[in-house]
């Protein structure tokens, strides 16, 4: 063996106790965070069990529910946009408008919407409070007085949303993906925190659920089912963990920093105060919420940002490895861009619990977690095989990744079943439990690998969203 090779082995031998200690410590920290989140989420669900019946919600809040503008950015959505707009116009909510923003689509998105809703060019006065590319035209129709379509030059999702913010007239806006389906009562449920605490509440996130395998009729999920493909099934478990466990717990602690771009309601003035969505990032949803936190903390303005488990938005999960990889790489890049942009908040007491707990948690989960876990998979087995480390290290690595991973995924499912029971059949629970176990053998590692790729792309300064291939909802006959 060459001298360099010997040196390398020597160095690894010297550094291995430290590297293994770091890998084990980060793994322990991650699992402690998850278990704490589970306990907090459980307590929170016990305190606020959602009312199943929307008629009661209507009776309770419809008279005092504030107007909301639904902002729907659309880029090359000609296949589904008309049905989705119909479904949005049919939402149960006393006062809302739908603002569809055609972000320079290259297909017939604008044309099909104009034809379907008999739209004509209109003028609408608006305040240019957030930056966006030029608007080419506005369209409306007396037949659909609460529908406005904006045609603008292509500038990306954040740019389209900024145009929507400017054109919206309501004190609140709801950002929703054009390919997502809102439950009919989702707005009514999501607005509740704004009704209860209108002075402080600035943003509310709802739950995103995977529609693959469910039956959709007239833009509405009529029968909840499980995905038939393995990747969307794993993502169902992942979403349960991310929303029911993590976001609920972070919301309870007042450090929720991500409201999904697919469904969130924001106070317009609070979003405008931070200049709306940022350009040049693929994590615009995360960035907006963090900016809002930061602005309110820096100016000493009391505020709240909440997550609710019950308002549901259905979205299609990628079922091909390639598309999923692109999505996860993008999410990781977005997380890193936002984290490093706001790194001065980290461990900064000026930002209270957000700086001392919220950002450090993000550092453990998004910044340190993925590369260290991958390093662990590569290094520890090698060191154990070469006799540098004892087999206990390998067991600890497996415990902290796979075995604890199983426990946490299954416990998220336990939480769902104990408090919400949204999966209609016992058989679904059994399938999900199995998925919660299996996902830790391969899928978890693949995910971490994609996140490390995202890391690499972030470091290289890559841009762009990548293409999402939609397979379409399963439509009822």
């Amino acid at each position: 063996m060459s001298e360099v090779g010997n040196l390398l082995i020597h160095w690894i031998g010297q550094a291995s106790p430290w590297l293994s200690a770091i890998i084990i410590t980060v793994g322990l920290m991650q699992n402690t965070v998850y278990l704490t989140q589970l306990v907090i989420a459980f307590a929170e669900l016990r305190r606020h069990r959602p009312d199943k019946r929307s008629t009661r919600l209507w009776a309770g809040v419809s008279e005092v529910a504030p107007p909301i503008s639904l902002l729907v950015p659309a880029f090359n959505e000609e296949a589904t946009i008309v049905e989705n707009i119909h479904s949005m116009l049919a939402l149960q909510y006393p006062s809302f408008e739908v603002v569809v923003i055609n972000d320079g689509s290259r297909d017939q998105t604008l044309e099909v919407v104009i034809a379907a809703f008999d739209l004509k060019p209109i003028d609408r006065s608006y305040e240019r409070s957030a930056e966006h590319k030029a608007i080419r035209g506005l369209y409306g129709s007396p037949r659909y007085p609460n529908l406005v379509v904006v045609d603008k030059e292509n500038g990306g999702k954040s740019d389209a949303l900024n145009a929507g913010i400017n054109l919206s007239r309501s004190p609140y806006f709801c950002a929703i993906d054009a390919d997502s389906l809102l439950e009919p009562d989702a707005l009514l449920r999501a607005v509740r925190p704004f009704v209860d605490d209108p002075e402080r509440m600035i943003a509310v996130g709802g739950t995103i659920r995977i529609v693959n395998g469910s039956t959709v009729r007239a833009g509405k999920v009529v029968e909840v089912g499980l995905p038939r493909h393995i990747l969307p099934l794993f993502q169902t478990v992942e979403y349960l963990r991310a929303y029911l466990m993590a976001r609920l717990a972070l919301s309870r602690l007042g450090i929720l920093i991500l409201i999904s771009g697919a469904f969130g309601i924001f106070r317009r003035s609070a979003a405008v105060a931070v200049g709306g969505y940022s350009h040049g990032t693929v994590g615009e949803d995360l960035e907006l919420v963090l900016k809002m936190h930061r602005h309110h903390r820096e100016h000493g303005i009391p505020y709240r940002i909440s997550y609710l488990p019950e308002p549901v938005c259905w979205t299609e999960a990628p079922q091909s490895t390639r598309v999923l990889a692109r999505q996860r790489i993008r999410w990781q890049r977005g997380a890193l861009e936002t984290f490093f942009k706001h790194k001065t908040m980290l461990f900064n007491p000026r930002y209270g619990r957000l700086g001392m707990v919220g950002l450090p948690l993000m550092m453990i989960e998004d910044v340190m977690g993925p590369p260290i876990e991958i390093l662990g998979y590569l290094l520890i087995p090698l060191l154990v095989v070469t006799g540098i480390l004892g087999w206990e290290y390998f067991l600890a690595l497996m415990a902290l990744t796979i075995v604890f991973g199983i426990a946490i995924s299954v416990l998220s499912l336990v939480l769902e079943e104990m408090e919400l029971r949204r999966f209609p059949h016992a058989r679904d629970l059994a399938v999900l439990m199995l998925a919660a176990v299996i996902e830790n053998f391969g899928y978890r590692q693949l995910n971490n690998f994609w996140r490390v790729v995202g890391y690499w792309r972030y470091l290289r300064g890559a841009q762009g969203w990548g293409r999402m291939v939609r397979t379409g909802f399963r439509v009822a006959p």
Binding site: R56, D123, S125, E199, R200, A399, V410, E417, M418, A430
Partner: protein, 347 residues
């Protein structure tokens, strides 16, 4: 090394425990599903019994309805469902039937001993009965530890006209101390139907702007012109929000006595107040403020410019002509005038 082994053993125990727990829950779900089918059947039966009683020809005698004691908890849900669809005289009859089967007594007990959801539902149910016992229970519920139950009780009290001293309600609902729910507006508007004098007194004596704002909103929606003077009195308050609320209230009342407050509001340092003043001028039709409103087309705040343009159009006559004239200018004022004119023409 023992530490690493401990991690392994703890993780194994946790994973095994979580799987066992989940399996128990899956079995429990099977049991629950069977129970839910039975409860659903019983609920249908209870609903059927109530609907049949409701459909009997109206007479002096109350139809005899029998509901098993074990089905009383189901009633909470059934009542909620029926109330969403039954209105008018039928609703009164439903209330009589429910009282005869002991639903009121059950609701009083639930309001005292139930979970938060049960207490909230019970408060809503008790609001139907308008009985002294129910009213007492609702008044007690105003001191409930959970805000949702307190508000549900206040809604039941205010919607049914149960006598309650407003200052006591302000204290019970911790208005001004805790974040103000929008639902308080609904409660105060209902109270305005029977308690205008008390609201006027509250507006005069309350110390907190939040309480005064609720009173202003409720009084404005009472359309009782005694409120005009009281609202005018707070239209120059130090709180921006209260001044804006006062102008909002005055535009609802639409009384000509609001003119001085509107004129003052048009030059207020706070932009939300100026926007409300412009809106109020347009709604009430204060044509004499046309020039002052037109001046606001140059305001820095977009909402003020927009409301001013809307107001000029609403004022009509010379004011609308002024708006058309300004629309010809190549300025910020001209731009908003053009767009509002185009928008309204399209509408």
């Amino acid at each position: 090394m023992a530490f690493l082994k401990a991690i392994w053993l703890i993780s194994l125990c946790m994973a095994a425990a979580s799987i066992v727990l989940m399996m128990v829950l899956i079995l429990w779900r099977l049991v629950r599903d069977a129970a839910a089918r039975r409860t659903g059947k019983r609920r249908s039966e209870v609903t059927q019994v109530l609907l049949e009683a409701l459909e009997q020809p109206t007479s002096d005698t109350m139809p005899e309805v029998r509901i098993a004691t074990r089905d009383l908890p189901i009633l909470d849900d059934v009542i909620g469902e029926l109330l969403d669809v039954v209105t008018g005289q039928m609703r009164g009859r439903l209330v009589d039937i429910l009282r005869s089967i002991g639903a009121e007594t059950h609701a009083i007990q639930s309001l005292r001993h139930g979970s938060v959801t049960e207490r909230r539902r019970a408060a809503r149910t008790l609001g139907l009965f308008r009985s002294p016992a129910g009213a007492d229970a609702l008044r007690r519920a105003l001191d409930d530890p959970h805000v949702d139950v307190r508000i549900a009780a206040a809604e039941a009290i205010s919607s049914t006209g149960v006598a309650i001293a407003l200052p006591d309600l302000v204290v019970s609902l911790r208005i001004g101390v805790e974040p103000p729910s929008r639902r308080l507006r609904k409660i105060f508007r209902w109270l305005a139907a029977t308690q205008v004098d008390a609201l006027l007194a509250l507006l005069r004596t309350a110390a907190l702007p939040r309480v005064k704002m609720l009173a202003v909103d409720a009084l404005a929606h009472s359309i009782d012109y005694r409120a005009v003077e009281a609202i005018l009195a707070v239209s120059g308050d130090a709180s921006d929000e209260l001044r804006a609320e006062a102008l909002r209230g005055l535009s609802v009342l639409g009384h000509p006595a609001a003119l001085p407050a509107v004129q003052r509001g048009l030059t207020d340092p706070a932009w939300p107040v100026r926007a409300q003043a412009a809106r109020c001028a347009g709604r009430i039709g204060f044509a004499q403020t046309g020039n002052e409103v037109a001046h606001l087309l140059h305001d820095d705040a977009w909402w003020v410019r927009y409301r001013a343009a809307e107001a000029l159009l609403a004022l009509g006559g010379p004011s609308a002509a002024l708006l058309h004239q300004i629309a010809g200018e190549a300025s910020r004022a001209g731009r908003i005038a053009q767009l509002v004119l185009a928008e309204k023409a399209a509408a």
